[in-house]
């Protein structure tokens, strides 16, 4: 037997499988013993901790290599709950020491509008491997947008870029924004955002975001980099308007926000030209121009500002933009105003999309559901494996076959996951369905190999022919399946691409590497 085992490990097919298996595990890098700290999921770009040097995790960084927060002010943060509990105890304007696995950051605790300290960091449990869990497993939002009317390729690219930029303003990591098309040639934009997403982001995505500032019927400037060179988002020049603040109304509160922007010299010149000939009026002792500066977002007026006489004909580049928010309680009104402000800032920064978009499909998946799903799928996988082993054992009654069969099947799974980690795939429901097919056909093929070599009729044949016969069947099934899977790449706006890709890669790995290795093992074990 010892001789046979040595022979197995010296077989080139087995050696190839073992080598690739080694590299797959290296790519997956599972942390069996757990990881310290919580992983930084996303971070607001203008938060004080960002100014202290902590940067937003790049989506290209491997999950296990991402920066983790180990402690805040010396208190350990090993779970998400622990982290938020520690942060909720922090006091504004005190020094904070945040320690990560890379370095320590010291900064002043910022105060947010509701009086609590918000570090602007969203965390999640540390990744236990380099496998990227897709939305169905980790929770998040998937939006499929469809341009209204036709769209050129160039416009589609611009739209994708602008949407990416909009999401960056919100400091989101792990975002997928890509164009997709279907078999009828319809274009779509698919956006996937991991983790819990605020409603306002979903709303913002489908907005064309055409911003116009008009005096009378003339547009003074548009949103976007051409006309607007700077949009203030820091606390000193943006936030709830200190002069007007919040006011109580019958049904609740109403708060005003304001922030500074800088116009390009051309836009400022345009402003001077338009306001030069306007009449002036006097109201309650102040002098204003007869026309207001009206702000429009997607052709809907969002605010109307009075223009002081001193701005008449002036080429001023600094302008204050304002708007409002409402709510039943004052805190709600403040939040609503700040939310509206952020939306407006985002469209001013990123400009308008070249087309109107419509939400064709929207999924929000709760992170709890995702976690439960993953655990459940693993349990079902183990149970199915036990059941299948039982059937195979009953049929062949030879442990010497079952053992390598299960080992090679598991190694097929590891090879696919290794490839997924390397290719930075997001594993989602579609890929899991693909894994089920691969494991299922894999099992079928192990049975084919075993039967082709063990059956009575084959006794007259030499081993080489037996294995050749088995591989002929396997190869045939593989190429035919390949044919049936290829059209899925384009069907249904690419929603089944994950399924097709996983199945094709899995089957290829199985047919070309793992199953021939199994055939070699069976031959060595059973050959007299």
């Amino acid at each position: 037997m010892g001789n046979k085992i040595t022979k197995i490990f010296l077989n080139w097919r087995v050696l190839l499988l073992v080598t690739l298996l080694f590299f797959s595990i290296l790519a997956i890098r599972p942390n069996i013993f757990g990881t310290e700290g919580v992983e930084i999921n996303s971070m607001l770009a203008n938060s004080s901790v960002a100014e202290a040097g902590l940067s937003n995790p790049a989506s290209k960084v491997l999950p296990t290599a991402r920066e983790r927060i180990l402690s805040v002010n010396g208190e350990e943060t090993n779970t998400v709950e622990e982290y938020y509990a520690v942060v909720s105890q922090l006091q504004a304007n005190r020094t904070i020491r945040l320690e990560t696995n890379e370095k320590a950051y010291t900064f002043l605790a910022p105060q947010s509008s509701n009086g609590k300290v918000d570090l602007g960091i969203k965390v999640k449990e540390a990744s236990f491997s380099n496998l990227r869990m897709g939305l169905d497993l980790e929770g998040g939002t998937r939006v499929l947008l469809q341009p209204v009317g036709g769209i050129s390729e160039e416009d589609l690219e611009t739209t994708v870029d602008s949407l990416k930029e909009r999401l960056n303003v919100y400091g989101l990591r792990d975002i997928v924004v890509r164009s997709a098309s279907d078999l009828s040639g319809n274009d779509f934009i698919l956006i996937e955002i991991a983790g819990v997403t605020e409603d306002e982001i979903q709303e913002l995505l489908a907005k064309q975001g055409k911003f116009e500032a008009k005096v009378g019927n003339e547009t003074v400037f548009f949103g976007g980099k051409k006309d607007i060179t700077y949009v203030c988002r820091s606390a000193d020049c943006s936030g709830i308007d200190p002069y007007l603040g919040c006011q109580q109304f019958d049904a609740g509160y109403h708060c005003r926000f304001a922030f500074q922007i800088s116009l390009s010299p051309e836009a400022a010149q345009h402003h001077a030209l338009i306001t030069k000939n306007l009449k002036t009026i006097s109201e309650q002792g102040s002098c204003y121009l007869a026309e207001d500066l009206a702000l429009y977002l997607d052709d809907v007026e969002v605010d109307r500002l009075r223009i002081g006489c001193e701005l008449k004909g002036s080429t001023t580049t600094d302008i204050q933009i304002s708007g409002s928010g409402a709510g039943i309680a004052q805190a709600d009104a403040v939040n609503d105003a700040l939310k509206n402000m952020k939306k407006l800032q985002t469209v001013l920064l990123t400009g308008s999309l070249p087309v109107k978009l419509e939400v064709a499909k929207l999924d929000t998946i709760s992170p709890n559901l995702g976690k439960e799903f993953l655990q459940n799928v693993m349990l079902v996988g183990v149970l199915a494996l036990v059941a299948v082993s039982g059937v195979v054992l009953y049929r062949y009654r030879k442990v010497v076959i079952i053992f390598p069969m299960l080992l090679v099947m598991l190694s097929e799974l590891v090879l696919i996951l290794g490839f997924a980690a390397l290719a930075k795939w997001n594993l989602d429901l579609a890929s899991i369905a693909g894994l089920i097919v691969v494991v299922g056909t894999g099992m079928n093929h192990f049975i084919v190999i075993t039967d082709e070599t063990l059956r009575k009729e084959a006794e007259a044949l030499d081993w080489k022919t037996r294995i050749k016969n088995a591989l002929f069947i396997i190869m045939g099934a593989y190429v035919i399946n390949l044919g049936s899977l290829i059209p899925l790449f384009w069907a249904g706006a690419g929603l089944l691409k994950g399924f097709a890709l996983t199945t094709i890669v899995g089957m290829s790995v199985g047919v070309l590497i793992a199953r021939p290795a199994y055939a070699a093992i069976v031959r060595i074990l059973l050959e007299e």
Binding site: D182, D363, A384, V388, V392, A430, R455, S484
Partner: protein, 298 residues
């Protein structure tokens, strides 16, 4: 009894082919009736028809009928229907389907539900599909299936270089899909896009069986024709058994509605495929071989 069945299987293979044919005809009738009465070949779920689904994992301590009734009263135009989700006989959550597609309407609906049961954001998931995408998706999948069939046919011809096997594989895939869909319709469940993926997965599994009989019956010369058929049957039956137990285990224990549907379709498909492969395909191949022998004998 077993001997009698064996005898019929061995000698009356042409007559036996009536069984899959009858199944196919009945299934086509079912699909036709379904189309005539509902305007669709299948019971389309929200993802294929357009609308929204809210999946809640928290225990709501209310029966689904009661919840459906009260939501219908509150939102009379929303076409609400409520399903209880279960796994291994235990309730695991509730799914609320509605015809709502407009963002503002859905927000109000979700807010009403989450307020009523004091739900946190992490307690529920929402899926919204616009009707145009749903309709398109279904049509696209049909186009994809036609392309799949064509490509499969070409691959079989290239691989076996025999026209009859190509025809057999495509016919088998067609029968598998049509009969499975008709039986699925009879369960009253609504089809999800993953269900369509399951139909394709099923083709993947059934192809294995087809290739085994084709290569054993046509390419091999060892043993008699019947010996080769029984050899192939033994291998095919082991394959079907392993897949069946795995599918059954998943069907009982899996929580996800989507995966459950995949498994149900695979289960129906596998059972249908037993008849299609071992009666229809074996019959066609034997007929083909018989003709070939006759013509070569003449």
């Amino acid at each position: 009894m077993l001997q009698k069945i064996k005898h019929i299987y061995e000698t009356k293979y042409k007559l036996l082919m009536i069984i899959p044919l009858l199944l196919l005809v009945l299934s086509l009738v079912q699909l036709g009736v379904q189309y005539a009465t509902t305007g669709d070949f299948v019971n389309k779920g929200i993802s294929l028809k357009g609308g929204s689904t809210i999946t809640i994992t928290k225990d709501l301590s209310i029966s689904s009928d009661e919840l459906e009734g009260s939501l219908q009263q509150e939102f009379p135009t929303a076409e609400v229907s409520v399903r209880t989700l279960s796994s291994a006989g235990k309730n695991t959550g509730t799914a609320i389907d509605s015809g709502l597609q407009d963002k503002a309407e859905i927000d109000t609906f979700v807010a009403a539900v989450s307020e009523r049961f004091a739900l946190q954001k992490a307690d529920y998931s929402v899926e919204v599909v616009g009707s145009s995408l749903g309709k398109n998706f279904f049509r696209q999948m049909l186009i994809a299936l036609v392309f799949s069939f064509l490509l499969m046919g070409i691959m079989v011809i290239l691989y076996f270089r025999i026209f009859i096997t190509s025809l057999m594989v495509i016919l088998a895939a067609f029968c598998d899909i049509v009969i499975t869909l008709a039986i699925f319709n009879l369960t009253g469940m609504k089809l999800h896009p993953a269900g369509i993926a399951a139909l394709l997965m099923m083709i993947g599994y059934s192809v294995d069986g087809e290739v085994i009989i084709s290569s054993r019956l046509i390419k091999r010369k060892d043993g008699t024709e019947l010996e080769r058929i029984y050899g192939a049957l033994r291998t095919g039956w082991t394959m079907t058994q392993t897949t069946l137990v795995a599918v059954l285990v998943a069907l009982i224990f899996v929580q996800s509605e989507v995966v459950k549907q995949i498994m149900l379709i695979l289960l129906i498909g596998l059972l249908v495929d037993i008849i299609v492969t071992w009666i229809q395909n074996v019959g066609i191949l034997r007929w083909h071989l018989e003709k070939k022998h006759k013509s070569s004998g003449q």
